[in-house]
């Protein structure tokens, strides 16, 4: 027998991820925010070429020099100078490197660890789930900043230690999300179908379940990046982050504290940078969430 089939033109294929990204592109505010984030990243990467001066060069004659638009300002030092006469703009550009590097590193490590732990907890259940979930509960019981301060106190300051101190707790966030999504996904028919053709457990977890729960994972990771950047600034502000002379936005805010009345720009301008970057990341991640979450679709 023959089966009557008609052959419509085969349209270009589209993954769900690509469709979602196209939806994201239609959200102009989120797109603008994403562009701003990309600009920050580019500036950070190309800091040595973008920055007008060496961020570590001190010049006591220019100590607390105001920004260009104020009286006593100078366009060659657009955003003025700090307590040691270092160019604030150059220091902010180098500071972006620290903030973004730490934000990206912590989120990558935490997402990877959380993903594996969450998949295992959600898929295997039972004892594995009980152990992982209790560890997560215990870690979530600590206030974030206090926990990080404690760890920094034990490990000592430094770039690598600040990344570890934040990642130690951060993975619990993605772990919880992934565990919940995996619990739901493992009951779906296509997972059952994969088992029926003899797929192994690692194959089911990594190839069948993971691609379907990538969207929430991406949204959580970007949202958390903003939080991490604030936490890093907080630690550096408290003197527990990267050590001088390395410039970090948090430590720059701390540097200008004593002169807030006569030279407000020393603390305020790095603060503005933190604010703008975090806001841009939040708006962009909000747009991602709207594009990826089918419940919000009209």
């Amino acid at each position: 027998m023959t089966v009557a089939t008609f052959a419509p033109p085969v349209p270009a294929s589209d993954s769900i991820l690509r469709i979602n990204l196209r939806k994201f592109r239609r959200d102009h505010l989120a797109l603008a925010a994403a562009v701003a984030v990309v600009l920050f990243v580019l500036v950070a990467i190309f800091a040595p070429w973008v920055a007008p001066y060496d961020p570590y060069d001190t010049d006591l004659l220019r100590r607390l020099q105001p920004p260009a638009w104020m009286e006593g300002g100078d366009w060659s030092y657009m955003l003025g100078c700090d307590t040691l006469g270092r160019d604030i703009l150059s220091r902010m550009i180098y500071g972006a490197r620290i903030s973004i590097l730490i934000g990206v590193a912590v989120v990558l490590i935490a997402t990877f660890v959380g993903m594996l732990a969450g998949l295992a907890a959600g898929y295997f259940g039972g004892v594995v789930d009980a152990v992982i979930s209790r560890v997560v509960d215990v870690l979530l019981g600590f206030p974030y900043l206090i926990f990080a301060i404690g760890l920094m106190g034990m490990m000592g300051p430094g770039l690598q230690n600040i990344i570890l101190a934040l990642a130690y707790k951060e993975w619990t966030i993605s772990c919880r999300v992934i565990r919940g999504e995996t619990l739901a996904a493992r009951e779906l028919e296509y997972v059952e179908a994969a088992r029926a053709v003899g797929a192994s457990r690692s194959h089911i977890m990594l190839r069948e379940i993971l691609p379907n729960i990538l969207s929430p994972l991406i949204v959580v990771a970007t949202t958390r990046m903003a939080t991490i950047i604030i936490l890093e600034a907080s630690l550096s502000f408290l003197g527990l982050g990267v050590q001088s002379p390395l410039a970090s936005w948090g430590s720059m805010v701390a540097d200008g504290r004593a002169h807030l009345l006569e030279a407000w720009w020393v603390s305020t301008l790095p603060g503005v940078a933190i604010f703008v970057l975090v806001l841009a990341i939040n708006i962009a991640s909000q747009g991602l969430r709207d594009a990826f979450d089918p419940r919000l679709r009209q």
Partner: protein, 328 residues
């Protein structure tokens, strides 16, 4: 008919005294309670019964796909001489999809929405087949199940296919490794009636092309009548009647089979009134040896509440009824 020389040949799949139980809060549910089914090589065997009759669970047990806390509590399942009950997980995994394939109910949700159709077919091949031209094999199987432009279609995602096409892809995945036995669990229940016929014709066509043995699980006796050599009628976790399809439909020996046939609407006879079977399938908790259909049976009598054995009626027919020997 293929099933006629059954006494001579060893069956491809032989289920004996299968017990699959699910502990629940109201008690132990014996979803499959002492089922004997033989599947002969090359035949198309139909399994019919209402929802909850145990037909799907029986064949999920064959592949070790019963979900915890359910488990196989007894019996044997022999496939080509090996007992599948208690087989280590890895050994079972090598049989699934390679030697015995199953298409699950509701094909529309059985495809992974995040992977291309090609990736999903290739996965089965990579899992089981020796090295070789997997891509070519995937193309071949796509054309075999009647999908036009297979090369372009392989790169598409499930949401870009219609329901009937998705069912064909499910078949392609199941058949990728050319299994000896295909278990098709309600292959058409999610499809339009017109597409149902296409898919069933395709299944019959593939069966003869690939020399495959097919178990067709359905609740539609009409489908069985058209496509199956033999039929097993299941009721409340047990086999009610079994035999060559033509004989069973022409002369059913179990009142339940008679009821099923009576509830099929007929186009040829406009005055024919559909007679539904009154009542519903009993709760599968704490059932004894008595006839499980007795509460709905118009012919029920005192001896129906004693132990009911399977009656061998000759010519490959069996029925679990005290009056099985009586002609209608």
């Amino acid at each position: 008919m293929i099933g006629s020389d059954r006494s001579v040949r060893e069956p491809l799949l032989s289920i004996r005294g299968l017990q699959t139980h699910f502990p629940t809060q109201v008690g132990l549910v014996k979803a499959v309670d002492g089922v004997d089914i033989d599947v002969q090589a090359g035949e198309c065997l139909g399994i019919v019964g209402e929802s909850g009759s145990g037909k799907s669970v029986t064949f999920a047990s064959v592949l070790g796909l019963v979900r915890a806390p359910g488990k196989i509590a007894g019996g044997s399942i022999r496939f080509e001489g090996r007992d599948l009950v208690g087989l280590p997980r890895d050994a079972m995994r090598r049989i699934r999809g390679k030697e015995i394939a199953i298409t699950l109910q509701d094909a529309l949700t059985c495809l992974n929405p995040a992977l291309t159709v090609g990736a999903q077919i290739l996965e089965t091949l990579k899992e089981h087949a020796e090295r070789g031209d997997h891509h070519g094999q995937a193309l071949e199987i796509m054309s075999l199940v009647g999908i036009p432009e297979p090369a372009a279609r392989l790169k598409q995602y499930p949401h870009e296919f219609s329901g009937g096409m998705r069912q064909r892809i499910m078949l392609a995945i199941a058949l990728a490794c050319r299994p000896r036995l295909l278990i098709a669990d309600e292959p058409t229940s999610a499809l339009d009636v017109t597409i149902q016929a296409q898919v069933l014709d395709l299944l019959a066509d593939l069966r003869s092309k690939l020399g495959m043995t097919v178990v067709l699980i359905t609740h539609d006796l009409g489908v069985v009548a058209e496509y199956c050599d033999r039929v097993v009628v299941m009721y409340a976790g047990q086999v009610a009647e079994t035999g060559p399809t033509r004989d069973v439909i022409a002369n059913p020996r179990h009142p339940y089979t008679r009821g099923l046939i009576g509830s099929i609407p007929r186009l040829s006879d406009r005055d024919h009134r559909i007679t539904p079977i009154e009542g519903q399938v009993p709760e599968l908790v704490g059932l004894g040896d008595e006839c499980r259909f007795a509460s709905r049976c118009q012919l029920a009598e005192a001896r129906c509440h004693a132990r009911i054995e399977m009656h061998d009626l000759g010519a490959g027919r069996q029925a679990r009824c005290v009056r099985a020997d009586e002609k209608q």
